[in-house]
């Protein structure tokens, strides 16, 4: 359900970003979404299509890249892909890990 709120936020941010006359009708919006965000891309797309938006954004498509969860181990220094349900270092089993990616929810860019 929170996808709807994110869809509205995307429109709010972009309507400010594309005011300049040099920006034409947007074809694609590039998004990066971390695995930890529990966002279902299809629901976000449906939400985005349903949210009211101006002419320049009306026909835009979302291009969503899901970013895997990666942790860096503070003990052995290895960078690994981790499972959502186990953030321990898969190499040395240390629980001292730092989250490197998986939490993003970013508009990377637009194409027109």
């Amino acid at each position: 359900m929170h996808e709807m709120k994110f869809a509205k936020d995307i429109v709010d941010i972009l309507e400010k970003e594309i005011k300049s006359p040099e920006v034409g009708r947007i074809k694609t919006i590039f998004l990066e979404i971390g695995e930890l965000r529990y966002i279902v891309p299809d629901i976000l797309i449906a939400g985005f299509n349903a949210v009211p938006k101006n002419k320049k954004l009306k026909d835009a498509q979302l291009d969503i890249v899901v970013i895997p969860l990666r942790v860096k181990c503070k003990d052995c220094g290895m960078l690994s892909i981790a499972d959502k349900t186990n953030l321990k270092c898969p190499v040395c089993d240390s629980d001292k890990t730092e989250l490197i990616s998986g939490n993003e929810i970013t508009i990377k860019g637009i194409e027109w």
Partner: protein
């Protein structure tokens, strides 16, 4: 065809509001918890049990309770003469920072040590939104099953405390306490887990001590 790099966090506006709330709460030394659980896990029961004890011990606090459209939770707390503000999210699945910001205008923060936010019953969406709290508290209960931490890891990751409620029902269920505790630790090694029963008033001393300790730490840090 043209391209523009934007690099903007979609949650920026929400995070800015949460940070404003956090600053106001920090300025007034108000330790703030955001309790998140499934519907029916015992958020309101916890406040009903713990509230009167905190009141008796002289801890000044306020409860903000979120619900889609009823005032049932607030009524249960109001009966106990505990200051409570009801937020109705109008079918939205979570409380957001803006709603907390508005609610904070209705309370005298200078006379409070603790703010308890009872979020809408939902383990998915509320975990995504920072309200300006010091920490989230993940509340689970025995009848839900011991796999809930594994199924909803984000809330564990963001909490400093996990509570497992309805321990009085353990004998009637196949809930595996050590599996549940271990899966919580795997996601967040720094988290503390307490086993409680609001119904039988068991294990709640530990929660009360945790709250009082954190109030003390926050005050000392700001001194």
């Amino acid at each position: 065809m043209a391209f523009k790099v934007i690099e903007k966090n979609i949650l920026k506006a929400s995070e800015d509001t949460a940070n404003e709330n956090r600053e106001v709460l920090r300025h007034n030394n108000v330790f703030t918890v955001n309790i998140i659980s499934s519907p029916g896990a015992g958020k309101t029961s916890l406040i009903e049990r713990v509230g009167p004890v905190l009141k008796e011990e002289g801890v000044p606090f306020t409860v903000i309770t979120g619900d889609c459209f009823t005032t049932r939770d607030a009524e249960r707390i109001d009966v106990l003469k505990i200051p409570v503000i009801q937020i109705n999210t109008g079918n939205a699945c979570h409380i957001n920072g803006q709603l907390i910001k508005a609610a904070l205008k209705d309370v005298d923060l200078t006379k409070m040590d603790l703010l308890i936010i009872e979020n809408v019953g939902n383990l998915v969406c509320p975990a995504q939104f920072d309200l300006g709290e010091d920490t989230k508290i993940a509340l689970f209960s025995v009848p839900e099953g011991d796999d809930k931490p594994v199924k909803y890891p984000l809330i564990i990751k963001q909490s400093r405390l996990a509570l497992i409620n309805k321990m009085d029902l353990l004998e009637h269920s196949d809930f595996d306490v050590s599996f549940c505790e271990e899966s919580i630790k795997k996601i967040n090694p720094g988290i503390e887990t307490l086993l409680i029963s609001c119904k039988k008033d068991e294990g709640l001393d530990g929660f009360i001590s945790w709250v009082k300790e954190n109030i003390k730490i926050k005050k000392e840090r700001n001194r």
